[in-house]
Assembly symmetry: C2
Homo-oligomer: 289 residues x 2
C-alpha cells in the first residue's frame, strides 16, 4: 500500500479483522473496532466449555494481540457513511473518519422468527455464551440429589441444542460427554439427556456422506439424541416446543442452546451497496465493493 | 430309599423336578409330569434370545435327558388329593396314584393385578417367550425404513421391561445390545430405546450395593433407560401407562416384557397343607411337609 498515511478502519475483531489489522499495521493508520475487548479463537470454544483450555489460551486481549501501531476501539459501529467516509460508534459523539474501510463484521445469530428464541436460548459464539452455558449445566447438576430416581435426574438434565450443523453437533457431543462425566463424579443415578434438533433432512447439511457417517457415529458414541426434520416452534424460560411430522412436542429443558444459523449483520443491511439475493455485499475477486 | 416299588410322582420339570427324577431313578417307580416337552436351562435363556446358543443347547427334550427308568408325562397337574394320594392331569381321565409326592412346580408370573398385563406383555421364562420377544424385535426393526428420522426410529424401537430384578436387568441390557447391533447392521439412523421399570426404590432390590453398582454400570454401558419408584398401571396392545411421583405417562412400545415377579402356583394354593404368610408350604429341614 503506497499511502502510509491512509486511515484504515477495520470493523470487526474476528479472524478477518484481526489478521487484516496485523497485516496492514504500519501500512497506514489502522484502527480496529470490536464489540469485545478480546479476540476469540472460536474453533476452541468447545474446549473452553469443557475446561480443557482457559480463557487466556483462546481469547487474548486485543491490546496484547495487536501490533502497537494499531489503534483499538472497543464499541459497536452503528452506522457507516460511505459518502463522507466516517463511521459512528454507539455511545461516542466523535465519529471515526477513514480513507479505506474493511468490513469484517461477520453475521449475527439467526433466530428465524422463533418465538422466545432470542430471549431464552443461549447462543454459542462468545466466551460469555460458554460461561452462561457452563453455569446452567452446573446449576442443573446441583439441583439433582444423589438419590434422585434415574428418570428424574434424566429429566432435570435435559439439554437441547438447536441446529445440527458443525457447531451444533460438536457442541452437543461435548455437552453430553461433560454431563455424563459429571454424573459419574457426583455419583448420580441414570444419565443426562442431550438432544440436537435439526430442521433439515440430515445432520450437518451441506457436508458429504463420509463426514456425515463420521459425525453420526460420534453422536451415537456420546449418546446424543438426534431429531431431524424438526422445527423448534417456541422457547420459554423452562423449555421448548418442537414440531415433527405435524406433531408438536413440549419438553422441559435445563437450557436450550441456539446454533441455528447466521443472518446478515444489520450494519451490512443498512449499507447502500449492491447486495445479492441473500443480502450479502457484491464484491470483486479482491473482496472490494 | 428302601422300597424300590414306591410310586414317586414328581410334579414340575425344572431344575428341582429333573434332578430329583435323575437322582431317584431306580429307587422307585418315578414319574415326572411337566407342561413342557423339554427342560430349560433358564440362566441361558438370554443367550438364546440373542442367538448365541441354540434351543437344543439349553432346552433338551425330557426323553433325551431323563433316565429310561423315569416315566415322563406331558401335561398340567390340576389337582392333588393328599388323602387318596393321586393327582389329576388336565385332559386325562386316568388319575396318577403315588406313594411319594415331590412338588417342584415353582411359581407363576405375578401380574399384580395390572390391567392388560397378562394379555399384552411377554413373560421371559420359556423358550416360547424368547421366540415371541425375538419375533417382536425383528418385526419392529422391519418396520423402520433406512431413511426414517432418528427420533422416529427410536420411537418405533421402544421396548419396556417391567421389573428390574436380576432377570429384568439382564434381559434389558441384552435387548438393548441386540437392537443396537441390528441398527448398525441395517444402517438405521439413531438408536433404539430400551427402558426398565422398577416399582422399588432401587434396581436389583434385595441385592447388595456392590452388585447394584456393577449392574448400574452395565445398564449404562448398554444404554438402558432406568425408571425406579415407578408402577406400571396399564398395558395395551400398543404400549403402556406408568406412574411415577403421581404423574402418569403413556408410552407406545413395540413390546412390553414382564419380569415383575412370581406368585404362588395355584396348584399349591389349593393344597390343604399348612402355609406361611406368603402362601408357601411350611416344610421340615428335609423339605418334607
Amino acid at each position: 500500500m503506497a499511502d502510509k498515511t491512509a486511515r484504515i478502519l477495520i470493523v470487526g475483531g474476528g479472524f478477518g479483522g484481526v489478521f487484516t489489522a496485523l497485516d496492514l499495521a504500519g501500512e497506514g493508520k489502522v484502527t480496529l473496532v470490536s464489540t469485545e475487548d478480546h479476540f476469540l479463537f472460536t474453533p476452541m470454544l468447545y474446549e473452553y466449555l469443557s475446561g480443557e483450555v482457559e480463557a487466556w489460551h483462546i481469547a487474548p486481549q486485543y491490546k496484547e494481540l495487536l501490533d502497537e501501531r494499531v489503534r483499538f476501539i472497543r464499541g459497536e459501529v452503528t452506522d457507516i457513511d460511505l459518502v463522507s467516509r466516517e463511521a459512528g460508534i454507539a455511545g461516542r459523539a466523535e465519529r471515526v473518519p477513514y480513507d479505506v474501510l474493511v468490513l469484517a463484521v461477520g453475521g449475527i445469530t439467526n433466530y428465524a422468527g422463533v418465538e422466545g428464541a432470542q430471549e431464552h436460548t443461549i447462543p454459542f459464539r462468545k466466551i460469555a455464551h460458554a460461561d452462561a452455558l457452563r453455569q446452567r449445566m452446573v446449576e442443573a447438576l446441583d439441583r439433582v440429589p444423589p438419590d434422585l430416581a434415574p428418570q428424574d435426574a434424566r429429566r432435570a438434565l435435559t439439554f437441547a441444542v438447536v441446529g445440527a450443523g458443525a457447531s451444533g453437533v460438536e457442541l452437543s457431543t461435548k455437552m453430553a460427554d461433560l454431563l455424563r462425566d459429571a454424573f459419574e463424579r457426583r455419583a448420580l443415578r441414570g444419565e443426562p439427556r442431550v438432544m440436537v434438533i435439526e430442521m433439515g433432512e440430515e445432520i450437518v447439511p451441506g457436508m458429504g456422506d463420509e463426514i456425515r457417517t463420521f459425525v453420526e457415529d460420534a453422536l451415537k458414541e456420546s449418546r446424543v439424541e438426534v431429531h431431524t426434520r424438526t422445527r423448534v416452534r417456541r422457547v420459554t424460560a423452562t423449555g421448548l416446543s418442537f414440531e415433527h411430522d405435524g406433531e408438536l412436542t413440549d419438553l422441559e429443558a435445563a437450557a436450550v442452546v441456539w446454533t441455528g444459523g447466521v443472518r446478515i449483520n444489520p450494519l451490512v443491511e443498512k449499507l447502500g451497496l449492491e447486495k445479492d439475493r441473500r443480502g450479502l455485499i457484491v464484491v470483486e475477486p479482491t473482496l472490494q465493493a
